[in-house]
Point group: C2
Chain length 112, copies 2
């Protein structure tokens, strides 16, 4: 289908929604069925299913059918993409420690 090729959801867009983030936090602890997930929220089962569909489309979750139940599993691989994107910024908040290192070095120099 064209949709599966073109519409391919973005991970960043998927985690933009607070409900989807909460679902991911739940699934990271253990795999769950849509109904079990929906019990944790005020929204309807269908609303949650739509969120799950979006999470599936960008491969943040995978599914395993068991009879009429479908267990959704969190897929850490995809979340890594966010982590990798963050890498470019991590240097900046680690620079604080670098600055501290610099200060300590200078103090050592003074002591010598």
């Amino acid at each position: 289908m064209i949709a599966s090729l073109i519409m391919r959801r973005d991970v960043f867009q998927a985690i933009a929604d607070p409900t989807r983030r909460a679902i991911l936090s739940l699934l990271a602890l253990n795999a769950m069925t849509p109904n079990a997930i929906a019990e944790h929220f005020d929204s309807s089962r269908q609303a949650i299913s739509k969120h799950i569909k979006i999470l599936s489309e960008c491969q943040l979750v995978s599914q395993k059918q068991n009879g009429r139940e479908i267990y959704y599993h969190f897929n850490p691989e995809k979340m890594k993409e966010v982590d990798m994107w963050m890498e470019q910024f991590r240097v900046q908040w680690e620079s604080r420690f670098d600055q501290l290192d610099e200060i300590l070095k200078q103090q050592n120099n003074k002591q010598l």
Copy 2:
């Protein structure tokens, strides 16, 4: 204003847009004016300004006025929030190494 209290943007929603992510990548390297940023994109200057406004509202960027020019700076502090949220999932992709550790341990036991 009420807007500044209630509307307070979400960092996750801010980085959902690919253009905004690209802007952040640019600003992480050096502070820039809206016009300078817009030159890197096909969109109009106003479109970019709107993105900048969203990034400002969630404090992912800060501004420093210089005459009629406004330099926008990347603020790493806010990006940390995303990094902190990711922490809960990081365990999962690091578990691969744990599994490797487990295998190595068992092999050592065999050797003993």
